[in-house]
C-alpha cells in the first residue's frame, strides 16, 4: 500500500478518499438565509392560518394578539440564530473568503428577518 493512499484501499467498506465534511462550511455560509426563509415561511403560514380561520367565522387558529406575539417571538429567535451563525462564521478556521460570505449573508439575513417581523408591529393582523 502506497504512502499516498489516504485510507487502506483494500478495505471492503466504501473505498473512497475521505474528504473533510463540508456540512459545517455550508451551515456557516448559508445558515443565515436558511434561518430567514424558515422564519419567513413560519410567520407567513401562521398568519395565513390565523386569518383564514378568522375569515371562515370560527374562533380562529390563534387570536390576533397571539398572532402578533407569535411573530415577534419567532423574529427574536430567528435573529438570535442569525447572530449565533455570525459568531460561528467569524470564529471558524478555514477559508476566509467563504467565512466572509457567511458573515455578509448572516448580517443580511438578520436585517431581512427584522424587517419581516416588524410588519407585525406596524401593520395590524389580518
Amino acid at each position: 500500500m502506497s504512502e499516498r493512499t489516504p485510507i487502506p484501499v483494500d478495505s471492503p467498506f466504501e473505498p473512497a478518499v475521505r474528504q473533510a465534511s463540508t456540512v459545517g462550511l455550508w451551515v456557516r455560509t448559508i445558515g443565515g438565509p436558511v434561518v430567514w426563509i424558515v422564519h419567513f415561511a413560519f410567520v407567513y403560514f401562521v398568519a395565513e392560518a390565523a386569518c383564514a380561520t378568522e375569515r371562515s367565522g370560527s374562533n380562529g387558529f390563534v387570536g390576533s394578539d397571539a398572532l402578533v406575539v407569535a411573530i415577534v417571538v419567532a423574529t427574536v429567535v430567528a435573529m438570535a440564530g442569525c447572530g449565533a451563525l455570525l459568531v460561528t462564521a467569524r470564529r471558524a478556521d478555514g477559508d476566509r473568503v467563504m467565512a466572509r460570505i457567511g458573515e455578509v449573508l448572516g448580517m443580511g439575513a438578520a436585517g431581512a428577518t427584522l424587517v419581516t417581523g416588524l410588519a407585525a408591529l406596524v401593520v395590524g393582523p389580518c
Binding site: 474528504q19 407567513y44 443580511g108 431581512a112 419581516t116
Partner: protein
Amino acid sequence: MSFDVAAPSDRHGPIGEPVVDEVTGLLTDPTTPVSAPAATTEQLDRLWDDKPGLWGRLTAVQNDAVGRRMMLTGFFFLLLGGSVDSVVMRLQLARPDSEIVGPQLYNELFTNHGSVTMFLVILPIFEGFAILTLPMLLGSREMPFPRLGAFAYWTFLMGGLLYYSSTLFSAVPDVGWFAYTPLSGPQFSPDLNVDFWVLGLGVAEIGAIAGAVEIIIAVLKLRAPGMTLARLPLYAWAMLITAFMILFAFTPLIVGSLLLELERGFGMHFFTPGAGGSSLLWQHLFWIFGHPEVYIQFLPATGIVSMVLPVMVRRRIAGYSWMVAAMIGIGFLSFGLWAHHMFTVGLPAIVLAFFAAASMVIAIPAGVQFFSWIATIWDGQVRWTTPMLFVFGFMITFVIGGITGVMVAAVPFDQQAHDSYFVVGHLHYVLIGGVAFPIFAGVYYWYPKFTGRMMSERLGRWNFWLLFVGVHVTFFPMHIVGLLGMPRRIYTYPEDAGWGLWNLISSLGLLLILPGIGLFVLNVWWSRKHGQRAGANPWGADSLEWALPSPPPQQGWTRLPIVHSRHPLWDQDELHRGDDRHEQLAHALGRWPLKWRAVLVVGTGNGEPEEVFRVANTSIWPFVTALGTVGIFASELLKLRLGALLGAAIVIGSVVMWNRPSPPLMTEEEELAFERDHGVPVRASGSLVVARWGMALAILFVSIAFGSFLLSYFYLRLENPVWPPAGVARPGLGIAAVVVVLFAAAAGAVGAGRRGILAGDRARLVRGLAIGSACAVAAVALLAVDLASADFGPGDHAYGSIFHTLGAFTIVLASVAVVMSVSTLVYAVRGHYSARRFSPVDNVARFWAATGVIAAISITVLYGAPYLTS
C-alpha cells in the same frame, strides 16, 4: 465582404493561416498560459467525440453537442414565439380601434409570447450555455451525467414542439402565461388550449430540472485540482445558485400543473371553490415558481456580466465575496416574493406586509452587485468592445427596471399599477436589460472560443445601438401609458383614451429592434466563415477556458489544469504546475486511460482530488426516454389513457436500459494499481461520489414535490372549515399503520442488503432486495385497495381529490422504488456487484430510506390530519 474596420484580409483565410491571439488594445500581457499539448490529444478527441450521421445525432451526449443544441433551440423558439408574436401585437396596438387581429387571436399572441419566452427561450439558452461552457471553465472534461443532459435537451425540444403543435389543431393556449384558474379550468376553457399549455410546457419543465441536476453536480464536484469554492468563477457560482433555484421553483409548478390537469381531465376539484377548492391555490403554486423564475433568468446573466466586465476593464472584480453573497441572497430572497403578484387578490394585510418587505429587501443584494461592477469599472480602463457595450446596455436598462420593481413592491402603488402597462414596461426592462443584453454580451464574448473566429465588431456595434435605442423607445412609453391607465392584455383601445401617441412610439421602437436582431443573426452566420481568426485567448481573459485552443478539442482538457488562483490566466505562469500529487495525477490522466472517458471528481470545499470515474458514453436511451415522456403527456392531451400507460412503460424500460451496468473496461486490480500510485480511487464502472450526489438531488426533487402536495393539502384544509366534508367518515387507522410498517420494513431490508454487499456478502444483498421489494409491493397493494374502497371518490370534493392524489403520489413513489430495487436485484443475482462496485445498490438504499420517510409522513397526514385538525 468585410464588416470590420481594421481587419486585414489575411486574417480572414481558412484554417492554417496566421492566427491572432489578441484583439488590438485589449491584451496588455500577451503571455497568458495555455494548456499543455499532449501526445494523446487526438486519441482523446476521437474517444470523446459523438458518432457521425443521424444515429450519432440521436445518441449524442457530449456537452458540446447538448449545449449548442439547447442554445440554438432556445433561439429558434425566440424567433418563433418571441419576435413574431410581439411584432403582430405592436402592429395591432400602434393605432386606436385597430382591427388587424381580433380579441381571440390577441389572447393567443400574448399567451404564446409570455409562455415561450419564459419557458422555452431563456431557460434552455442559459442551461445550454452552462452545459457548453462549464467543463472548460472549471477545468473538467465533461458534465457529470452526459445522458441526463441529452435527456434534458430532448425533453426541451419535444415539449416545445408539443406546445407549438397546438397551432395545428387551432387550439393555441389563450389564458395568459400564468393560466389563472378558474379561467383555465374545465368550465371556462373546455377545449384543448390549456391542455397544450399544461402538458407541452410540463415536458419542458422536466428538461429544466434534469439540466439543473447536471449543473449543480458539475460545479460542486467536477473541477480542476486546486479550484476551491473561493476560487470558483462567478459565472459558476451564478449557475450553481440558479440550478438550485430551478429545482425549488419548477417542482411546485409541476405539481400545480398536475393538479390543474387532474381537474381538467379527471374531474377533480382543487381550484373549484364550489367543491371546496381554492382558485388562489393555483396562484400560490404558480407564483412560487413564477417569481423565482425571473431571478432564475437574471442570475446567470449577472454571472456572464461578472465574467465579461472584468476582462474588458482589465481589473479583478471588486468585492468577490460580496458578489457571491449577493447572488446567494438573491437566490433565497426570490422565494419570499411570490405573493407580490397577488397584492390585489385580498390577502391579509400582514401577509401583504411580509411580501412587500421581502420585495424591497431584494433590491439590496442587487444593488451590491451593481456597486461591485461600478467599482470594477472605476478601477479599470474600459475597452468598448461589443461585449462591453452590451454590458453597459445591461447596466443602464436593468437599473431602470430595478427601480420600477421597487415601486411595484410598495403595496399602495402596486394596487394602482397592477395589470397596467406600467408592469409590462417594468418587466421588459428587467428581462431585456437584465437578461437579453447579457446573453448578447456572452455570445459575442465566447463565440471565438467555440468557432475559432471573432464576430464582426462593426456589425456588433450596429447590433447593440439598434437594440439599445429600440428597447428604450419601445418599452419606456409603456410606463407612461400604464400610469395613464391603459390595462395590459387588451387587444385594442378607443381613440379618446389618449394612449395612441405613446403606443405608436412603442410600436415604432420595434422598427429598431428588428434590424438589430437581424444583424445579430447575420453576424453569427457571417463570422463563422469570415470572422477574424481567434487564437486561444483573444480578449486576454483570466478564466481557464481561454487557455484551450479555439475551438477546443472534444475532451476539452487533455491534461487537467492545476489551479492556484481565482484568475489563473492572469496569476499563474504555468497551468500544470502544483504540488507533486496534483501534477502526477494531472499528467497521468493526460495519458491514461485511452479507452474510456475519465473525469476527475474533487472535494466540494477544498478542490482536492477525490475520485476518477468513467463518465457515460453515447446512448439512444435518453432520446427514447424523452419520447416516452412526451408520449405520456401527448396521450393525456388526447385522452388516450392506454397511450399514457404505454408511454410510462417506455419510460420505465428505457430508464432501466439507460442505467444497466456495462463492462467496466478495467479490472478491479488495474483500478487499485492506479489508486496506489496516485492515491485517488478509480471507478471504471461508474462513480460512487457523483452517483450519491445525483441520488441526493433526486431525493431533494421528490421531497420538494411532496412538500408542494402537503402545502396544497393544508391550504385546502384551511379553506374548508369542515374537514372531511359533512357526511364523509374519517379514514380508518388500522390499514394505515400496517402500510407504514411495511414501508419501513422495505427500507430496512434494502438497507440491510446494502450493508451485506459492503461486507462482501452478495447473498445478503439479494435477500435484502427481495424482502424489501416484497414488503413494498404488499404496502403498495394495500394502500391502493384502501384508496379504491374509500366511500368517496376523487371527483366528489376537494377533500376527495387531494386525498386520492396524495395517496397516489405515495404509490407512484413507492412503485419507482420497487422498480429500482427489482432491477438491482436482477443484476445482483447475475453477480454484478461487489464491495468495491456497489454504486447502484447504494442509490437504491438511499432512495428507499427517503421513500420510507415520505410515505410515513404522507400516510400520517392522509389518515391522521382529519383527526388532528378537526
